[in-house]
């Protein structure tokens, strides 16, 4: 299994633990992640301002992957949704496709439909499969209670992404449970983390994550698990902001999913970049016998 690896902007610049743990876990499961030299923003960040620019930026990345003759593996829900929406637009709207290809011809590129977009977590679930992941688990995380957060853009819009199961999905919970940890149900599990409005309405974004944190805390978990660097920042960094703003204490560590899987695979938590996580993870790791 080999993919053109597109880590996006946020993971390589803000959530180092996510990127490094993804790479290590991929290696464990024989997934080769090849660098996309020269790649640019997925286009999500300019989409509110100019749709064409966002599609052109996405399309350039598709062309880079096509040169590598590989499908793209993303680890950010924002990249995932933006890429697929852009690709669907190019596939269904001939006028848009001509326009974009005209612009890309400037740099000798042309969009074709050959490259597909996969989220790393979906690759784990669909391509690698639960049973193979289970084989890779050497120290099951028995007794660890986690709150799973999917993130909106890995599921929705379902009519673009091609899932029917967006209201009560189970696949990420299954990926969590194969590590031996227990996925705890909680109210508003599917609610947005507020990440997309961190820039435009930080207060509101903080209020949203606080609400999720309170609900997660009430079911008494050891950690939150995400598969998006944006959601992760909300749960990790903004958690500290919310604690300060509301003078409350939540202290729920955030695990990027590959970190969770990594420790179950017996990888060194130091290598998995746990020390980069803002909320202290040592109590949670202690629970599964890891001194950190």
């Amino acid at each position: 299994m080999k993919y053109a690896f597109f880590p996006g902007c946020t993971a390589p610049f803000r959530t180092y633990g996510y990127e490094v743990s993804t790479r290590l876990v991929a290696k464990q499961l024989d997934i080769e992640l090849m660098s996309m030299e020269g790649s640019n923003c997925c286009g999500f960040a300019v989409r509110p301002i100019d749709k064409l620019s966002s599609i052109v930026l996405a399309a350039r990345n598709f062309c880079l992957a096509e040169k590598m003759a590989l499908d793209i593996c993303v680890i950010c829900n924002g990249c995932y949704e933006n890429f697929i929406v852009a690709r669907n637009g190019l596939l269904t709207d001939p006028k848009l496709r001509r326009e974009v290809n005209d612009i890309l011809s400037e740099i000798d590129m042309e969009f074709t439909e050959s490259v597909e977009i996969k989220h790393f977590a979906r690759i784990l679930f669909e391509e690698v499969g639960i049973s193979k992941i289970k084989e890779s688990v050497v120290s099951p995380l028995e007794g660890l209670r986690v709150a799973v957060h999917y993130g909106c853009h890995v599921l929705k819009p379902s009519y673009e992404l091609g899932f029917s199961d967006w209201e009560n999905p189970r696949w990420l919970d299954q990926l969590v449970e194969v590590t031996g940890a227990k996925s705890m149900p909680y109210v508003d599990k599917m609610a947005c983390c507020g990440g997309p409005i961190m820039g435009s309405a930080m207060d509101l974004a903080t209020n949203m994550i606080r609400d999720k944190l309170i609900k997660i805390k009430s079911v008494n978990v050891d950690a939150i698990v995400t598969i998006c660097p944006f959601c992760a920042l909300q749960f990790d960094l903004t958690q500290l902001g919310a604690e300060k703003k509301f003078n409350e204490t939540y202290r729920i560590p955030l695990f990027h999913y590959p970190q969770l899987l990594g420790i179950a695979q017996g990888l060194d938590p130091f290598d998995l970049g746990f020390f980069e996580n803002r909320v202290n993870v040592s109590t949670a790791l202690e629970k599964v016998g890891i001194i950190f």
Binding site: E167, N168, P185, V187, D188, V219
Partner: protein, 434 residues
């Protein structure tokens, strides 16, 4: 065997529409074959507690008609049977009917219930929507017609207890399906409907204990139902003090592919609200709706009465966005916009009732193929001129009545059944050329 009949009419479906059409035709002296796939006639109306807007007892209206069907010399009642094959044309249809084995001899069973009392196996009770069990050998409900027991082979273990206890020797584990061939002049389809599967609206949490459908509420509030007429919470058996109704569940909803209005949900929800109030006066009831469609005779007055001080039902204009359970209490919190004020609301309730819509039966498609008649885009049967002649199917000599033609309430179903009966009798008497 071949039964030759000149003026017979075949009626498919033994709900209120099929029953009414049968009785009307029989009264004219015509031979009627009434085919019903389940063990008893009665249909959904038999499951209802009261009718709207008059709050008449549903069973009190229906049961005498069911008995009349049984007693009528002109009606041959074929329950637990299905139409297998239809050929010929108007005035001269040849029909094969499959009589499924009941494993109980209909001729001799007296309906004494001893078999069921001895049967050690429990199965979900279809009539009570699984809210209480029945035995593997069962009568669907006490007023069932015919008063004949049926063995459900999906559950029966052939232990022999029922056979041993039956005083008239009615039990026959080796009963075989039989085919009955008949000739009729015309056919009426009155196969009714199913209720919308509320699981398809995941945001309405039907999997939760304290979220039920309107039809389940009918069984709970019915004195002969599983709780003896007490509307209770399935999570803890307590009486709910705050009840919410969610309208248009599965109706007027592009997401589930049903754009039509089911026409009965507004009124049945209002009726149920009133009934709950009559049972437990201090219950707070809120009905979340897009608009209340009180279009029938006496409906608007009934709606006004539900809103009046007498019943004090609260109507919130707004379709519910989502709901969730509070794990500690099992209570349900509902998020919706009150579109009259523009306020987002999150209210807590003890019980939530989903006013599910009506959908075509799953086997309507098979019947449609068998008979070659037209379906509309929603799957209801239709003819060439539904605007003028709703009882006429697209095939000469085949008529339609009741919800199979489109959602409607009991009075409309009965009226349409009467219309279909007249049309069917003309063809049966005069032959194909009408």
């Amino acid at each position: 065997m071949m039964e030759k009949t000149q003026n017979g009419v075949l009626i498919i479906g033994g709900g209120i529409a099929g029953i009414q059409a049968s009785l009307d035709l029989a009264e004219q002296g015509l031979k009627v074959y009434l085919v019903e796939k389940s063990p008893s006639i009665g249909g959904v109306m038999a499951q209802l507690d009261k009718t709207f807007p008059t709050l008449d007892c549903s069973a009190c209206i229906l049961t005498p008609k069911m008995v009349e069907v049984k007693l009528s010399e002109n009606i041959e009642l074929l329950t637990y049977s299905e139409v297998e094959e239809v050929s010929g044309k108007a005035g001269d249809f040849k029909v094969k009917i499959l009589k499924k084995p009941r494993y109980v001899n209909e001729e001799v069973c007296t309906g004494c219930d001893i078999c069921s009392q001895r049967c050690p196996i429990e199965a979900p009770n279809e009539f009570d929507l699984g809210l209480q069990p029945r035995k593997a050998i069962y009568l669907p409900f006490p007023q069932a017609v015919p008063n004949t027991y049926t063995i459900d082979k999906n559950y029966c273990i052939e232990c022999g207890l029922c056979k041993g206890v039956c005083r008239v020797g009615a039990i026959d584990y080796d009963q075989q399906p039989t085919i009955l061939e008949i000739e009729v002049g015309s056919i009426i389809i009155a196969t009714g409907f199913e209720i919308f599967d509320a699981n398809l609206k995941e945001e309405y949490g039907y999997h939760l204990d304290n979220v039920i459908t309107g039809l389940e509420l009918e069984r709970l509030i019915n004195a002969s139902g599983p709780t003896g007429g007490h509307v209770i919470r399935l999570s803890d058996g307590n009486l709910p003090k705050r009840v919410a109704f969610l309208q248009c569940v599965g109706s007027r909803d592009e997401k589930v592919g049903n754009l039509y209005c089911s026409r009965v949900c507004c009124m049945y929800a209002i009726k149920q609200a009133v009934l709950i109030k009559e049972h437990e006066e201090d219950t707070d009831i809120t009905i979340y709706n897009m608009d209340i469609r009180a279009f029938g005779k006496g409906f608007e007055e009934f709606y006004q009465r539900a809103m009046s001080e007498e019943f004090g039902t609260k109507f919130v204009r707004g379709r519910v966005g989502e709901l969730f359970e509070i794990p500690e209490t099992g209570n349900i919190r509902i998020r919706a916009e009150n579109t009259d004020t523009g306020e987002f609301t999150e209210e807590e309730f003890d019980l939530v009732v989903l006013s599910v819509g009506l959908i075509p039966c799953k086997d309507a498609k098979a019947l449609q193929e068998l008979l070659g008649i037209q379906q509309d885009e929603d799957g209801f049967f239709t003819g060439e001129n539904p605007e003028l002649l709703s009882t006429k199917s697209s095939v000469e000599g085949i008529f339609i009545a009741g919800v199979v033609e489109g959602p409607k309430d009991i009075p409309d179903s009965v009226a349409q059944a009467g219309g279909a009966a007249i049309k069917a009798s003309v063809v049966a008497v005069k032959g194909g050329e009408t």
